[in-house]
């Protein structure tokens, strides 16, 4: 992919790493949180950690859409998948997320018609090809993916595809960040802001972070140079005593967001009073359900789902990992009872999950100099 190569240039990376070193105050330890799972993935995929001085620590945040799904929602999804005649569709990562009695992949092996799709439009296509069956799309993700679900629902409505249904697990980014910042055990110096989400919501919604909590935030892209540059911008703010929202990802993110996408979201979705997050409990106004105008497409209304709140497994510390309170390897079951092939927690499943990324990519990172 030639057009991104310039954002992966190793020489520029080394130069930028040198500039980062110049901003670091000797003896000070910096903890920066990358909010988005996409950043976590990039950091491990490219080994970005290796280019940072040892006293700049990157902490993984709650922005992996698969990781924040609570067990009860997986159970509800499996219950729908087992309904006669249902074709249940979801992204590949969701197949392996454990519910309280197995995963969707297990449900498939037991006979449920569970199919992996790459986009909600694939699910709509399956619905059109199987008019006598209900096709349920298990929708996940932040404001990043919610517009594509919304547009698919709009198309289903316009084309009268009434056997297409959606079980919405869409969530919003600001409420969990506020919950995170309110938790007393948090020690962070700044945030790498979520680039993809910001293409939709813009950078303005994050202004409360410097204003109310006194932490700088830099919205960043996902190429390795983007991440390094964002780290540099945060460290420079700290060095200069500034504290604001900056946008590193200007080539994609408009400061005010994408108004059309936000309008589509407002039309198709409505805020739930509260929604449960894996390891973080219920967070007010943090989840999206289908709006009344789209109630006919709501799988939760059509099928009676158990809707039971299932406590996370006792040994699982995904919540603390999601909040950046502990590193993946500090979890009691990391790598022994909880592995990518037999995950206990969600963070061990998705390629954007902090635990899976650390287990798969990060275990033998080069030793770094501390200045």
């Amino acid at each position: 992919v030639r057009y991104v190569d310039e954002f992966r240039d190793a020489g520029l990376g080394r130069a930028l790493a040198g500039e980062i070193l110049g901003e670091v105050e000797p003896g000070r330890h910096y903890k920066l949180m990358e909010v988005c799972g996409g950043h976590t993935h990039s950091i491990y995929k490219y080994g970005i950690d290796d280019l940072l001085p040892g006293n700049v620590e990157l902490v993984h945040g709650p922005g992996c859409p698969v990781c924040v799904i609570p067990m009860g929602r997986v159970d509800d999804g499996i219950a729908i998948a087992h309904q006669p005649g249902v074709i249940f569709t979801c992204f590949g990562d969701m197949l392996r997320i454990p519910g309280s009695h197995g995963s969707l992949q297990d449900a498939k092996a037991e006979g449920a018609d569970v199919r992996m799709v790459y986009s909600p439009l694939d699910a709509l296509r399956i619905a059109k090809a199987n008019p006598d069956r209900d096709v349920v799309f298990f929708a996940i993700g932040f404001e990043t993916t919610a517009p594509s679900t919304a547009l698919t629902l709009k198309r289903a409505k316009a084309e009268g595809v009434h056997n297409f249904l959606c079980m919405s697990n869409h969530v919003t980014i600001v409420p969990p960040l506020r919950a995170l910042l309110d938790s007393p055990d948090l020690r962070l110096d700044g945030f790498i802001g979520p680039g993809h989400v910001s293409t939709v919501v813009g950078a303005r919604p994050f202004e409360f972070i410097p204003a109310d909590y006194g932490k700088p935030l830099v919205v960043a892209g996902f190429e390795p140079l983007d991440v390094l540059q964002a780290v540099h911008m945060i460290l420079r703010q700290l060095a200069e005593g500034r504290c604001e929202v900056e946008n590193q990802y200007t080539r994609v993110v408009p400061y005010e967001g994408n108004r059309r996408a936000l309008e589509v979201l407002a039309e198709v979705f409505a805020l739930r009073p509260h929604f449960e997050w894996r390891g973080m409990g219920f967070i007010s106004q943090s989840g999206l359900k289908l709006s009344d105008a789209y109630a006919d497409f709501d799988a939760e209304l059509k099928y009676a789902v158990p809707g039971v709140r299932v406590a996370d497994p006792k040994a699982c510390q995904c919540g603390e990992v999601l909040k950046g309170v502990i590193k993946p390897w500090e979890c009691k079951v990391f790598g022994t009872a909880c592995t990518p092939e037999r995950p206990i927690g969600t963070c061990m499943v998705s390629s954007e999950g902090a635990c899976a990324a650390y287990y798969n990519f990060g275990r033998f990172a080069r030793e770094r100099e501390v200045v």
């Binding site: 030639r2 275990r363 080069r366 501390v370």
Partner: protein
């Protein structure tokens, strides 16, 4: 002062590596698609159920039997039956021929079993039989025995093909999965990920404006050239099919008790394959090939071996992609093109079912 890996972290990593080195178990209630993906679940099925049942320590793709013969068997369930660059019939010949070739055996003969679905168009069957005959002639191997079965409509998705291959172990070959030594160089016979990407595009699941052809071909000429150039200095070779090159590297790092470092920037990848993999969030190193081998060669013979691979049919883009190391045992590490380092672990789950 150095080190972000604290003592406690290092200790935990040690515990994980011990757990990881244990023989895989088969503890699942059902067979899932992951058991067919060539990754950890497949390993659990083989090491945990099949090999112990037959009193074997392992159950490799091909085995040397008495009298210097190599024996292998394979089944093919690819969907769709035809795809750019090949079809199920060609795969059925080349896949089995390649398992023999990378065991250091010259392919001699195949048996063929066809499982056909009621209602399969005769034209489809004829085309595949022709493809089998053509591929066998190209690979210089004879089809000498066979079997046919027909199952009711709705089963077998058109057709499944099973082939068993017999080969003669070449006198120049001293190949063993346990033979790798630190310092050995890692060669790959061409670009990775073409076959899996071709199948994915042929299924029409993605509308990308690119055509990628499967790389299906016999690897015996490449192995023959390698053995000519480097003989016993060729420690081991593997065809990088399901699970891709990454799975082969992991399997051999474990089998030989060594580590490996792969230089990502040196791995040849077709730009369209790289693009598709990027969009889908998968790594071409885990995508299947049907005509690529990974060879481990002692350092003194590596340059000659690479030149020989490049001169062999289909080997123009062969490359030296890394080196065998001592530590950490059983692990494959990648030096990223960006200058960082990460682990390239075994595949978990199934990014792409039924590709061969």
């Amino acid at each position: 002062v150095s080190g972000t890996v604290s003592d406690r972290e290092a200790k935990i990593l040690g515990i994980i590596e011990t757990a990881r080195a244990k023989r895989a178990k088969f503890r699942d209630a059902h067979v899932t698609m992951a058991h067919g993906a060539g990754g950890k679940a497949t390993q659990g099925l083989i090491e945990g159920l099949l090999a112990p049942a037959f009193g074997m320590d392992e159950l490799p793709d091909a085995a040397i039997v008495d009298g210097g013969f190599a024996l292998t068997t394979d089944s093919f369930v690819v969907k769709p039956l035809r795809f750019p660059g090949g079809s199920i019939g060609e795969l059925a010949v080349n896949g089995t021929v390649n398992d023999l070739a990378v065991a250091g055996a010259r392919p001699l003969a195949l048996t063929l079993a066809l499982v056909l679905e009621e209602g399969l168009p005769a034209e489809t069957l004829k085309a595949e039989v022709e493809a089998i005959a053509h591929a066998a002639a190209a690979a210089d191997v004879r089809v000498v025995a066979g079997d046919t079965k027909v199952v009711e409509r709705g089963h077998a998705d058109g057709m499944y093909v099973c082939t068993t291959g017999l080969g003669l172990v070449d006198a120049r070959a001293r190949l063993s999965p346990a033979a790798l030594r630190p310092g050995d160089r890692i060669l790959i016979s061409g670009r990775v990920g073409d076959h899996g990407t071709a199948i994915m595009l042929a299924r029409g699941e993605f509308e990308l404006g690119a055509t990628i052809e499967s790389d299906t071909r016999s690897l015996w000429p490449a192995v023959d050239a390698l053995l000519d150039a480097a003989g016993p200095a060729v420690r081991c070779a593997r065809d990088a099919t399901r699970g891709g090159a990454a799975s082969v590297l992991n399997e051999l790092a474990r089998a030989s008790g060594v580590a490996m470092i792969v230089r990502e920037a040196d791995v040849p990848v077709h730009p369209a394959v790289a693009g598709a993999a990027e969009l889908l969030g998968i790594d071409p190193m885990y995508v299947a090939n049907e005509g690529k081998l990974v060879a481990f060669v002692a350092p003194e013979a590596a340059d000659a071996a690479l030149a020989a691979l490049r001169a062999a049919p289909g080997g123009a883009e062969a490359a030296d992609i890394g080196e065998v190391k001592t530590e950490p045992v059983g692990m494959v590490l990648v030096e990223t093109a960006f200058g960082g380092k990460r682990v390239m672990d075994q595949l978990v789950g199934d990014p792409l079912p039924r590709i061969c």
